[in-house]
Amino acid sequence: MPTYLARRLGQSLLTVFLTLTTVFLLVRLAPGDPAAAYAPPSASSADLARIRAEFGLDDPLFTQYGIFLRDLFTGNLGTSYSFHAPAFDVVMDRMPYTVTLAVAALAVTTLVAVPLGVWMARRADTKRELGANVMTIAGQSMPDFWTGVMLLTVFAVLFPVLPASGFTTWSGLVLPTLTVAVLQLALVSRLVRREMVSALTSPYVTVARSRGVSEHALTWRYALGNSAVPLVTALGTRFAALLNGVVVVEVVFGWPGVGSLVVRALETRDYPLIQATVLVTATLAILVQLLVDLAYPLLDPRVRLGKAA
């Protein structure tokens, strides 16, 4: 157990470090002068030189990297050009909205996808299941921004029962959550189906059936219990992918989270802000992944107790 924890923690730190370094290199290697982006268009070449000196842009790459890392540890991710405020603070202001949306979508996904996947596994390849199967394929094939716009049109424009955008009341959460959930639901229910089909045909289920265990218990206790590890792994990994969906959906619904922030920063070429957003969300995703991995031992006694025979 302790070695598992230590190794897993080390891996997460390494991933964070890799991400930081990649982002640093990307920003520094990109064509164009960051100083020019920061300065007003009227700036003279002397102004640009002054800005370069101020931000240490003339230093060797290695020195810049050292400064970059040092700043990170003090929580300094630079100053946003457009907000004229520390980029980290701007991102953290928006973070709760994004997390709310992500958690709501993940909850809806889990609540619907698991029963749906179990049902599909038990009815595998019947006509009705084939229909459901094709529906899930359709669900994973629709561009999420388009799904969002469609839902918006139907439920906020044609039949105005839900607010179209922003986050003023909790009902504003419904459409964005649904939009993010459609794609995840399709993917996760297909995964549940696959895991359950293989679990239901495994020897321990047949043997349990031979001693009179009910089909209900076979499905929900034996098969699902054994599918839990791959499922939770998938849900943990999906969290990162889910954040992708959240970015797009936030833009569609004008949701005040980091997704719409990063797209706005993109339009204004606010590099420190983009960089801060990427770093913060990446760290969040890695943290979630770490928590999920730490939950394994609770689900799988083979991890908890070691493989000793």
């Binding site: 045909t201 495994s202 020897p203 321990y204 289920v205 047949t206 043997v207 349990a208 059936r209 031979s210 001693r211 009179g212 265990v213 218990a217 206790r221 034996y222 219990g225 054994n226 839990a228 590890v229 689900l299 799988d300 006694p301 083979r302 107790l305 493989k307 000793a308 025979a309």
Partner: protein, 286 residues
């Protein structure tokens, strides 16, 4: 042991299989795995189906219990367990499983759910038969069962997981789980083929002792003539889904009539020199 619930008259077979035919609908077409076999198992008797892999012996055993996937196997003929036709009535099959008949599976390493404790799975089996018992009573009974299959310090093993046991111990636990339903009939599907030679002897020994004590009927599936010779009252030699020869164990081994049986016997070279005093399993450990 007065666990036996008397089923019909004593002359009624526990298991009565008539013209059982099992066809498997595969992607490559319909395969006839079992082609019209008939046999019976009575109280206190062990009947063995022996054959090479692919002969249809395990399919017969699983078919008798109706454990073959519904979408794969088409069964016809008749299978009566304690008088109830389980082929005609799927509910009857569900009703007898875990009560009248239990299965001892082929590979003990994969036969228990790896994420549930042994106690939980054994407890489930006990509770199915005796829903009135309290948790503590279930546990007491389970520990007693584990002791009966010679698990040492059974009370400390209740909360252990399958991966913490060896194959031989798991097979004993599976026997305990099979016994939890207090069955009249045990179907043992190659119960020792996944185990080491030394462990095999212990498990077979345990099964025979249990049979002596409780008068349980047993359908044994094996590819190993050494095992068959040791435990059986009657032997059916199976090939390509049919019985090529049937008869009392002594007769089959001593005077095999069918050429296939002679081939099987020849494939176990030490069997000819078999001696009453030697440990049996040595000949089988190939």
């Amino acid at each position: 042991m007065t666990q036996r619930t008397t089923v019909g008259q004593d002359d009624q077979p526990l298991l009565d299989v008539t013209d059982l035919q099992i066809e498997l609908v595969t992607a490559g077409g319909v395969v006839r795995a079992v082609d019209g076999v008939s046999f019976t198992v009575r109280h206190g008797e062990t009947v063995t189906l022996i054959g090479e892999s692919g002969s249809g012996k395990s399919t017969t055993a699983m078919g008798v219990l109706r454990l073959l996937p519904e979408g794969l196997a088409v069964l016809s003929g008749s299978v009566r367990i304690a008088g109830r036709d389980v082929l005609a009535d799927p509910d009857a099959a569900r009703a007898v499983r875990g009560r009248t008949v239990s299965l001892i599976p082929q590979d003990p390493m994969t036969a228990l759910s790896p994420v549930h404790t042994v106690g939980r799975q054994l407890g489930d089996a006990i509770r199915l038969r005796h829903p009135e018992l309290t948790r503590a009573q279930v546990r007491d009974k389970g520990v007693e069962l584990l002791g009966r299959v010679r698990i040492t310090k059974p009370e400390t093993r209740w909360k252990a997981y399958p991966h913490q046991f060896s194959g031989g111990m798991l097979q004993r636990i599976l026997i305990a789980i099979a016994l939890a339903g207090e069955p009249d009939l045990l179907v043992a599907d190659e119960p020792t083929s996944a185990l080491d030679a030394t462990v095999q002897a212990g498990v077979l020994d345990l099964l025979m002792e249990l049979q002596e004590r409780t008068g349980i009927g047993m359908l044994m599936i094996t590819h190993d003539l050494g095992v068959a010779r040791l435990v059986s009252d009657r032997i059916h030699v199976m090939k390509d889904g049919r019985f090529v020869e049937s008869g009392p164990a002594e007769q089959i081994v001593a005077r095999p009539a069918a050429p296939y049986t002679r081939d099987l016997l020849a494939a176990v070279p030490r069997l000819g020199a078999w001696d009453e005093d030697e440990p049996l399993v040595e000949g089988a450990a190939s």
